[in-house]
């Protein structure tokens, strides 16, 4: 007889917080999507006191505003900004004055440091008065969201690509592979390629365009620009900062990338690339054209950085990081399949077939058209005859928010509640309790 399915849920109105390098998500555990989603980047207008803007309105034009990110290498570096982010998420968006009735589950990168983890715990108990707190790994949450206890998580996000093996819910730290290749790098490369093409294609961000007119394909744009906002790096009194201008240019490039870029699912081949149809794109100033080769070469960086990453990008410095788990430098970026095999080398051979059968693909950049098919083709060549199975959520929201979703599932399970760190425990032991507990 089949035993009846046991409902393992036990809602304690926990809140799940997931801060990614591009988006921050917060919401109630047990729900299938976060209550609030907003960019992690924030804007600062200098002054005394300075004005900070978090959330979706940061793209609004504010003279002298500076855009910055509170994460670097996936770890929190700007703690005051983190506090303001939490404030925005909980007070402004979720309308909770504090978390005194809500246990808080926070996700963190697999390579988080002890200090960072303890600091976050402190913020949760001291500033937010949460009755219980716990920190979980993002990759583990992604694998839980796909219903797997053991999996190899390939996360291609905004800032990084990481390959993290997970065994029975534990990260195998020695086999983590990561490198700073992600949506951000692809957009930067696109931007530089468009600017350096002949003739150069001007990328005018939304904030500069006052009005625009429809123009035929390839014709120069007919738009009135807001000259008072014009970005001029030479002028120290220019009201537009480099960081704002750059961030707005990147927004256009993200859109360009999302609407045109495609990965050749059968592997790179010059003939196929040349015969793949072009796609149109209209820039904010009305200029529109058909794009062919660049929409294929740029995402190819993920699979073959040695060939497709332009020379000037190989000299970039790595993002500052306090983590002990190193990234591959820009000068020696690895193809995604190499990251995979590098990771497998570190793992006991008995587990290889498990991992080949449970590959979880997540992260926004993995939504690039053809990405999963291509990965499947390339990994099948590595598998040595083993069955290769990729689990990638088909809905974009699930792919982007998979770590939040896993947290939402975990925090609503009745069996999870023994792991919470209670307020009393924190008071008794201090912030070091998060590292002392064996959960991680």
């Amino acid at each position: 007889m089949v035993p009846p399915v046991q409902y393992g849920g036990d809602e304690v109105s926990a809140i799940v917080l997931d801060i990614g390098s591009h988006t921050t998500r917060a919401g109630y555990a047990g729900e299938d999507s976060p209550k609030t989603v907003f960019p992690t980047t924030f804007s600062t207008v200098p002054g005394s006191p300075p004005t900070y803007t978090h959330g979706n309105s940061l793209h609004l034009y504010r003279p002298n505003s500076i855009h910055s990110n509170l994460l670097s290498d996936g770890l929190v570096t700007d703690w005051p900004a983190l506090s303001r982010t939490l404030d925005h998420a909980f007070r402004d968006r979720m309308r909770l004055p504090d978390l005194s009735e809500f246990p808080l589950l926070v996700t963190e990168a697999s390579w988080n440091t002890k200090e960072n983890r303890e600091k976050m715990c402190e913020v949760a108990f001291e500033e937010w008065k949460t009755p219980a707190y716990y920190t979980v790994d993002k990759s583990v949450m992604s694998s839980f969201a796909s219903g797997k206890g053991s999996a190899l998580v390939i996360d291609v996000g905004e800032e990084m690509t990481s390959v993290v093996p997970i065994y029975d819910g534990f990260v195998l730290r020695k086999a983590i592979q990561k490198q700073p290749v992600g949506g951000n790098l692809l957009s930067s490369v696109l931007l530089s390629q468009l600017k350096n093409s002949t003739p150069p294609i001007p990328v005018t961000p939304h904030y500069l365009v006052k009005t625009k007119e429809a123009v035929p394909v390839g014709a120069p744009a007919k738009a009135t620009l807001r000259d008072e906002r014009k970005f001029n790096p030479e002028d120290p009194n220019c009201p537009t900062t480099l960081s704002y201008h750059r961030s707005q240019e990147m927004r256009v490039m993200h859109e360009f990338k999302e609407s045109t870029c495609e990965v050749l699912s059968g592997g790179w081949d010059d003939a196929t690339a040349a015969s793949t149809p072009t796609r149109p794109f209209e820039f904010p100033d009305g200029y529109n054209a058909l794009f062919g080769l660049e929409r294929l070469t740029v995402p190819e960086i993920l699979f073959n950085p040695q060939r497709f990453l332009p020379q000037e990008f190989t000299q970039l410095p790595l993002p500052a990081s306090t983590s002990t788990i190193p990234s591959h430098p820009y000068s020696n970026l690895q193809p995604i399949t190499r990251l995979f095999s590098n990771s497998l080398v570190q793992i006991d051979p008995d587990l290889h077939s498990t991992f080949f059968n449970n590959i979880v693909v997540t992260g926004g950049t993995s939504l690039t058209q053809g990405f999963v098919d291509r990965l499947q083709t390339e990994l099948a060549g590595l598998s040595g005859g083993m069955k290769t199975k990729i689990h990638a959520a088909s809905s974009p929201a699930e792919r982007i928010h998979s770590s939040w979703l896993g947290g939402s599932i975990l925090a609503s399970l009745g069996t999870f509640h023994q792991l919470w760190i209670g307020k009393d425990e924190y008071d008794e032991v201090g912030a070091s309790i998060v590292t002392r507990r064996g959960g991680k």
């Binding site: 393992g8 036990d10 809602e11 304690v12 109105s13 009735e101 246990p103 009755p131 219980a132 065994y167 029975d168 534990f170 990260v171 195998l172 730290r173 020695k174 086999a175 793992i347 006991d348 051979p349 008995d350 587990l351 290889h352 060549g381 040595g384 005859g385 083993m386 009745g414 069996t415 509640h417 023994q418 919470w420 209670g422 307020k423 009393d424 425990e425 008071d427 008794e428 032991v429 309790i433 064996g438």
Partner: protein, 501 residues
């Protein structure tokens, strides 16, 4: 609005006032008490009135009122959901107080959830044991300082390392993969090294820990058995594991080309095996034909009685088996294939017939049916001799019959003496053999021709094949005649050729 109103609006006269019938046929006055046809449900009064006196020609599909979704009928009082705080037994709630303050603080956490129909005597903050059954623990071994000093010191494993190992074992519930990943000391130790040390420590502990004293003897035995079982479960051979993993690694690191190669070799070897089996089967078949009645490989000196044939061989083998088992074969079968057991002379008779007497009386004895035959028919009934002529195989029967007719011999003998019957039987058998051999030769020759053609196509240019073609027929004939003589070997070589192509 009624039908009358509509008629009025559209200026249609009353049906009664139709021309020709006017005045003659006034509408029959409605009788008092006459029921108008009932308006079906679901049609508004106005719509029904429009239809006038015309009854619908088809019954309306829906005679009942359209129904709304049924309301949930709740009997009894409303379910009462209540927000209640609970402690978790998995955090130690409900256990006796301990001195460890952290432990005590851990017990205190109260989470709140909604519960339906809480009992009246429920205390807020009491342990909720609903999920306690999912808690598992593998309870790894641990050792004391004394035990370590006495039995467990190992040069390769300093005490700190061993301590760290057991700490990890507790923390990660013996997940050696995770333990190896979290190993923080130098030298770096792999999964197998950790397993080997852990299990060796466990074995030593199980072996040396004294058995609880004052046990009953049978309990002692039980304890010993348990100890042996535990020891066996802690067996771990690091060399074997490393070797196995090395093999596994090399298996996993094959390139796609290597895998394709191996697959090809496997398929090829399977094919060779199959073609070998086929050749062997064909050869056996040929040998059988060549052997004729007696078959090749039948025991020498076998007496094959009339009508024995291949069956006779089998029978003879059975006989041999029986003799090996120490039975005489007397009980059921007569000697020398006699129809009646020797010495048998009727029910209840004591007289024993001898071979000489039989010869003198012209008595032929035939084998009795096998043991499995029903008791009532143990002895063969009397029959005509011609019925004992072995039937010819149906496949060649027609050709054998044709050959016989050609020779002018009929199987219906005028004088079916024993000798005659034997002769005709031998003749039939040889004819059958001949026909079968002819078939085999034909088949093999055609095969040879096909293979040659193929070979020429593959090897030779067109001129060459033409040159060859000239003498091909002659050579084929010559070869065929040679091959007929030793067809067994010919068939094997030809099939070999086929296999190669």
């Amino acid at each position: 609005m009624t039908s009358r109103d509509v008629r009025d609006i559209m200026s249609i006269s009353e049906p009664a006032a139709s021309p020709g019938l006017g005045g003659l046929q006034a509408p029959p006055p409605r009788r008092a008490g006459q029921q108008r046809e009932k308006r079906p449900d679901g049609i508004t009064r106005e719509l029904y009135a429009l239809m006038g006196d015309n009854a619908p020609s088809l019954a309306l599909a829906q005679s009942t009122k359209p129904k709304f979704k049924e309301r949930i009928k709740r009997t009894g009082p409303a379910i009462h959901w209540q927000l209640s705080a609970f402690t978790n037994p998995s955090r130690g709630a409900g256990k006796p107080e301990s001195d460890d303050k952290a432990e005590e603080a851990r017990k205190k956490l109260k989470l709140r959830h909604w519960v339906r129909d809480l009992p009246a005597n429920h205390v807020d903050g009491s342990p909720d044991t609903k999920f306690a059954k999912f808690n598992t623990s593998s309870q790894p071994y641990s050792y004391t300082e004394d035990e370590y000093n006495k039995w467990l010191s190992d040069e390769a494993w300093p005490k700190e390392d061993t301590d760290h190992l057991f700490e990890l074992a507790h923390q990660y519930d013996l997940r050696f993969i995770v333990m190896a990943d979290r190993w923080e000391r130098t030298p770096e130790r792999g999964v197998d090294a950790l397993k080997a040390r852990y299990y060796s420590v466990c074995r030593v502990l199980v072996n040396n820990r004294p058995r609880p004293e004052n046990l009953a003897p049978e309990e002692k035995e039980k304890a010993d058995k348990l100890r042996q079982e535990t020891l066996a479960s802690f067996h771990f051979d690091i060399n074997r594991e490393t070797e196995r993993k090395a093999y596994l690694k090399s298996l996993l690191s094959r390139t796609p080309e290597q895998i394709a190669d191996e697959d090809f070799l496997y398929v090829e070897s399977r094919r060779l095996e199959q073609s070998y089996n086929k050749i062997a089967a064909e050869r056996a078949e040929l040998l059988k034909i060549l052997g004729g009645r007696e078959g090749i490989g039948a025991q020498g000196g076998m007496q094959v009685g009339v009508g024995g044939g291949v069956k006779g061989v089998a029978l003879g083998q059975k006989d041999a088996e029986r003799k090996r088992k120490g039975q005489t074969g007397w009980e059921i079968e007569g000697l020398n294939g006699g129809g009646l057991p020797e010495g048998w002379a009727g029910e209840g008779s004591k007289r024993k017939a001898t071979a000489q007497q039989d010869a003198a009386n012209c008595i032929e004895r035939h084998p009795a049916p096998s043991v499995s035959a029903p008791k009532a028919n143990i002895w063969p009934s009397v029959g005509v001799r011609s019925s004992r002529i072995a039937p010819v195989k149906p496949g060649v029967a027609s050709k054998v019959a044709a050959a016989l007719t050609e020779l002018g011999i009929t199987t219906h003998l005028v004088m079916p003496t024993k000798a005659n019957i034997e002769k005709i039987d031998t003749l039939q058998a040889s004819l059958a053999q001949m026909v079968e051999l002819k078939k085999a030769v034909d088949r093999i020759q055609s095969e040879i021709r096909m293979v040659k053609k193929k070979k020429d196509q593959l090897l030779g240019t067109e001129e060459e094949t033409e040159v060859k073609k000239e003498d091909e027929d002659a050579r084929t004939d010559r070869e065929a005649s040679i091959r007929t003589k030793r067809s067994a070997s010919a068939s094997s070589t030809s099939t070999n050729k086929r296999a190669r192509h």
